[in-house]
């Protein structure tokens, strides 16, 4: 995806930040299946950051929590109540998985905002893996829990009878499109935001003294991107809960 937007004298290459490569201090060279790329590196840092927050945050378990304990508790309670509200009591069995997904996406998105870092969630390969895993898991779960009654998700009994076959086709399409929209929403938001910031940063280099305005624009965009990073993690998780709810209670 590199090298699409060069030209016009401006040396702006917003997509080069998304290239998967082996960092030079890790040996450089070609990307093989075993090589430690920047994706592996930042995913590892994400996992380390989450483990650090949750292990050190909950180690003391004080009644009056310190800073890291409150962060861990607030996130835990927030996701717990979200799963319970949307997927019901039965959905709480899957809370650890949903919490893992939320923490991974949130921390990966926020780490990606650091300058010179790599946003692992900006790659469709990463988000599609999570979305397809959720899609397959939810479909199997629906059939295991409800048997053939799971198909009533597509046969809407509250609609007039002549409309039902048409609605069934629409529901079927929208069901199979779920992993696509689920994964591209996150990857597209991350990629577009980072490319936008990079384009403005490129203007700053090209404009000389007037480069102060693009820098101001970046300063305004940056909190917006932070907001988007958190909201997209939330949206990904809430949609996982909605799909889980469809599998557990497929009645319209």
């Amino acid at each position: 995806m590199a090298g699409e937007a060069t030209g016009g004298g401006l040396n702006i290459d917003p997509m080069s930040q998304f290239v998967v490569k082996v960092p030079s201090w890790l040996g450089g060279g070609n990307v093989e299946w075993y090589s430690i790329t920047n994706v592996t590196l930042w995913m590892g840092l994400t996992v380390l950051a989450i483990a650090g927050l949750l292990i050190f945050g909950t180690r003391r378990r004080a009644i009056v929590p310190n800073r890291s304990q409150s962060i861990a508790e607030v996130i835990y309670g927030f996701i717990h109540s979200m799963v319970e509200d949307i997927a019901g009591k039965e959905g709480l069995k899957f809370f650890p998985y949903i919490f893992t997904i939320f923490m991974f996406i949130l921390v990966a998105n926020v780490l990606g905002l650091l300058p010179m870092s790599f946003t692992t969630t900006s790659h469709i390969a990463v988000t599609a893996l999570m979305a397809v895993a959720i899609f397959i898991a939810v479909t199997i779960l629906g059939f295991v829990k409800n048997g053939t009654k799971f198909l009533s998700l597509f046969w809407i009994s509250s609609a007039p009878l002549p409309l039902r076959p048409i609605l069934a086709i629409i529901e079927l399409i929208s069901y199979f499109v779920r992993p696509i929209s689920h994964s591209i929403r996150l990857a597209g938001n991350m990629m577009a935001g980072h490319a936008l910031v990079k384009v403005f940063a490129g203007f700053a280099g090209a404009l000389g003294i007037f480069g102060v305005f693009p820098v101001l624009a970046v300063a305004i965009l940056y909190p917006l991107e932070t907001l988007v990073a958190v909201i997209q993690a939330y949206v990904f998780t809430i949609l996982t809960c909605v799909y889980l709810n469809d599998a557990l209670h497929p009645h319209h």
Binding site: M1, E4, I86, S181, Y234, V235, I238
Partner: protein, 80 residues
């Protein structure tokens, strides 16, 4: 045959740009969802907190259709 290749590339870029106009529809949809949520929330602030999750689900579904046009643009740019 350089002309033919240029024409194909031009078609790709124009098509990708046209496909991106579909994302404007998603913007209208998302704005509509949030605007209606806000007008409802200002009439009955007590019930607003319980409906933020519903608002985000609505945003996600409205946004999904814009994502498909983005997908078409991506396919035109990188997959052809």
């Amino acid at each position: 045959m350089a002309v033919e290749g240029d024409l194909v590339a031009m078609g790709q870029f124009i098509g990708a740009g046209l496909a991106c106009t579909g994302m404007g529809g998603a913007a209208v949809g998302v704005g509509h969802v949030v605007g209606n949520y806000l007008s409802g929330a200002l009439r009955n602030p007590a019930a607003a907190a319980g409906q933020t999750a519903t608002m985000f689900i609505g945003i996600a579904f409205a946004e999904a259709l814009g994502i498909f046009s983005f997908l078409v643009a991506l396919l035109l740019m990188f997959a052809l």
